[in-house]
């Protein structure tokens, strides 16, 4: 079917975005505009949102090429805090490596690493108060680790074993940890965004002092929930921080499929009239500083902030993904913003507060720590090996109370077990 020709007008052409590099391609990042560290202005936290809007098209950076912290965004953290940040990021990486291996060994069904993105969860968690409520997406395990949540509990969840606090109901890594002010993770993308706004609105309705923060990938900013959340936050001036982790890839779709060919993700803030900051997501100090700025702003009733963390997903989307099928392996090697763990390590060394030897020793300790936690969790079983929550719990928590139809269905389910294994008894 074709329409009417109009003189010499050209036929309309549909633009389908295409990433710059595919498997085997040589990578050239010269098109990326990487700002010089320390040169971005830091407006007052209570400023009009519009004053931040130039930062939405810039890139806030603190750590320079010489590994020194420079400029108005330097959070001036003491050496102990810096070492704690480094250790937490390194622990997150060690944890990821071990869990990835566990999945490959058949101990669980699924895992997602955050390699290269550790700063985008660890640094914000350290800049927030521990009782500020976080509504994460699925790659913010660094928050739980930064808040001191026991990694053995995380492993229990990943194994869906009998000690899993979520009773084996959730896909691995979809944690929920109320005591760590960490909201239940959903597999449906972007739903946490309006929920974080609602929590922040409730906190404001009650005259509380706690704020909310939420995370999303750049790909999911295309969901309607993202825009609903931004509108509600702008309308009610909600005390919330929106984090967009722009790691360039949503499974196999590059950021162009979420609009990155046109503008930055931080620039979404401009249209909603809220504060926005685009930050080097592999610079832990810049991420910390941006979060601290946004938290102070929210806590003083000056409104929400959108922070885009410009980073790179160094590994596959999940254990079910093979990025070698769709992107060049050189992307990771050539990424111009480096690696967040290494950058903080080099910063501490440049300060004379750390050494290569200490780092090797720390990595060894962390590996042992994760190994010990894994062993501990395995006492309670791994997925599919029989040690799970009692059978009847499958029907609990659908409602607060068990209605008749679920009661009948649970009896049927138990009956089926008894038919299959006549001696079977529920734990």
């Amino acid at each position: 079917m074709s329409g009417t020709a109009r003189g010499n007008l050209p036929p309309l052409a549909l633009h389908v975005p295409e990433p710059k590099f595919r498997p085997g391609d040589k990578v050239d990042y010269s098109h990326l505009q990487i700002s010089v560290a320390g040169e971005q202005p830091r407006p007052d936290e209570g400023c009009a949102a519009v004053e931040t809007h130039p930062l939405c098209l810039d890139l806030v950076r603190v750590l320079g090429e010489d590994h020194r912290a420079v400029g108005p965004w330097d959070p001036k953290l003491d050496a102990d805090t810096l070492r704690r940040m480094l250790r937490t990021m390194a622990l997150t990486r060690a944890f990821d490596d071990r869990m990835y291996r566990g999945q490959r060994q058949g101990k669980t069904s699924f895992y997602m690493k955050c390699t290269g993105e550790e700063a985008t969860s660890v640094a914000p968690a350290m800049a927030l108060a521990d009782d500020d409520m976080v509504f994460p997406s699925y790659r913010q395990q660094g928050i739980l680790i930064a808040r001191g949540y026991p990694i053995v509990e995380m492993i229990n969840q990943i194994y869906s074993n009998r000690a899993d606090k979520l009773k084996g109901r959730q896909l691995p890594i979809m944690y929920s940890a109320r005591e760590a002010s960490f909201f239940s993770i959903s597999g449906n993308l972007a739903t946490q965004y309006p929920q974080a706004v609602g929590w922040a609105m409730a906190s404001a309705i009650k005259g509380d002092t706690r704020i909310a923060a939420t995370w999303i990938g750049e790909g999911s900013t295309a969901e309607g929930d993202f825009h609903s959340a931004m509108t509600f936050a702008a309308v009610y001036n909600a005390p919330v921080i929106f984090n967009v982790v722009n790691n360039q890839w949503a499974i196999s779709s590059f950021s162009g499929f979420a609009g990155a060919e046109r503008t930055t993700f931080a620039a979404r803030a401009i249209g909603y009239g809220i504060a926005g900051i685009r930050v080097d997501g592999n610079d832990p100090l810049a991420v910390y500083a941006a979060t601290q700025w946004a938290a102070n702003r929210a806590r003083s009733n000056a409104g929400p902030t959108l922070i885009e963390h410009f980073t790179y997903r160094a590994e596959g989307h999940s254990t079910s993904d093979d990025p070698g099928q769709y992107r060049s392996a050189h992307e990771r090697e050539e990424w111009p913003l480096g690696d967040p763990v290494n950058r903080l390590k080099q910063h501490l060394i440049a300060l004379g507060e750390w050494s290569e030897e200490q780092h090797v020793e720390m990595d060894r300790e962390l590996m042992e720590q994760v190994k010990a936690a894994t062993k501990e969790a395995e006492k309670n079983g791994i997925l599919g090996h029989g040690l799970h929550h009692p059978f009847r719990t499958m029907f609990e928590d659908v409602f607060e109370e068990l209605p008749w139809h679920l009661k009948e269905q649970s009896e049927q389910a138990i009956h089926e077990r008894q038919v299959k294994w006549p001696d079977w008894k529920d734990a």
């Binding site: 109901r169 739903t191 309607g224 659908v398």
Partner: protein, 356 residues
């Protein structure tokens, strides 16, 4: 069942002494919201036009002025946002009562209801819950066309983790809404807007009787609640059982009265969890069952009811189960009454049951 019987069955003794007023359904709903805003500082009411203006159907009239702007407020036109922020408010510890202006508008909020509110308790093993009551006018008969007339209850009864409530009288609307707000699970509270002002009997071409003349418009002042999951026997009878809810309770009752048949009319009130005991007892007694709803037929809630009655009462059945519903078309504007399951459609089903 009369108001006095309602009181005897479901209310504390002190309530029988409470002053009683004649309210229509809107006033009863407004009263319930007012009482809950007063009793529980965690209750908040939000939705499009619900604040200063008091809602397009006036259900929230006066509530913002009385309880303040942070308890009763307008929202952006975003059902996804309304339900989404209500989930977050519930996680904080509030008890939000969002209004979706028409049930037909609820679909942008469906992911937040189905994947989030309904699943939160289960997926977090009880760490977080979404104790919200989503109020929404539903059903046709007001010349609303296809975007202001739908009955999407079966979309929600199909979802594990949501309760679905549909009142049919002012007395029930108040008591059920209070119970829904107090409930710790997410509740869909569909308000049959055709009977906001009077109990419609199905004859669109005859004058409407106001609620004031109906026994169940007698609404006591103050707090009372009606337990969720309990049906109401509107009229006991022997000839056959009618299972209905919302507007269709009144239409079915009027047709039965007109035909002079001794039907046992059951107002289900709660679709999930269903009061299966009352349904079974009645069908076992009468041996015949007529299911009536306004929603489209295929996979409507009537299909579930029919299956349950067949599974559980088969050896008592003396006739095929009759199912009277709207047609499987969008709700047409000009031919609204051709769509509506009115006295002719219901009457013929009754004739078939009586002959069997």
């Amino acid at each position: 069942m009369t108001y006095a019987q309602n009181l005897a069955d479901e209310s504390p003794v002190s309530l029988s002494q409470a002053p009683v007023r004649r309210l229509n359904m809107i006033e009863a709903i407004n009263d319930a919201l007012d009482i809950m805003l007063e009793r529980d500082p965690d209750v908040v009411v939000l939705g499009e036009d619900v604040g200063y203006f008091g809602g397009v159907f006036r259900a929230t009239a006066g509530l913002q002025a009385k309880h303040g702007k942070t308890r009763v407020f307008d929202t952006p036109i975003s059902e996804c946002g309304i339900i989404g922020v209500a989930v977050g408010m519930g996680a904080y510890g509030l008890r939000p009562v969002p209004e979706i202006q028409f049930a037909d508008y609820i679909y942008p909020g469906l992911d937040q209801l189905v994947s989030e509110a309904a699943r939160l308790r289960y997926r977090s093993a009880g760490e977080f819950t979404a104790p919200m009551t989503v109020r929404s006018p539903f059903g046709g008969g007001i010349f609303g066309g296809q975007t202001h007339s739908q009955s999407p209850e079966a979309l929600f009864t199909h979802v594990s983790g949501i309760k679905t409530i549909i009142p049919s009288t002012p007395y029930d609307a108040k008591g059920l809404l209070i119970a829904a707000i107090e409930d710790n699970d997410p509740v869909i509270f569909f308000e049959p807007k055709r009977i906001y002002n009077g109990p419609f009997n199905g004859y669109y071409d005859k004058p409407v009787e106001p609620w004031a003349k109906h026994a169940d418009s007698a609404v006591p002042e103050g707090y009372y609640s009606i337990p969720l999951g309990k049906a109401r026997i509107v009229r006991p009878g022997q000839a056959f059982t009618v299972l209905a809810y919302g507007t269709m309770v009144h239409v079915a009752a009027a047709v039965c009265a007109e035909k002079g048949v001794d039907a046992e009319i059951i107002d289900l009130r709660t679709l999930v969890p269903l009061d299966i005991e009352t349904v079974e007892k009645s069908v076992e007694k009468t041996g015949k069952c007529l299911i009536v709803h306004e929603a489209t037929r295929t996979c409507g809630f009537g299909a579930e009811l029919s299956a349950l009655v067949q599974e559980r009462c088969f050896y008592h059945l003396e006739a095929p189960i009759e199912r009277v519903t709207g047609f499987d078309t969008p709700y047409p504007h000009s031919l609204e009454w051709a769509y509506f399951p009115g006295p002719v459609r219901i009457g013929e089903a009754i004739d078939r049951l009586m002959k069997a």
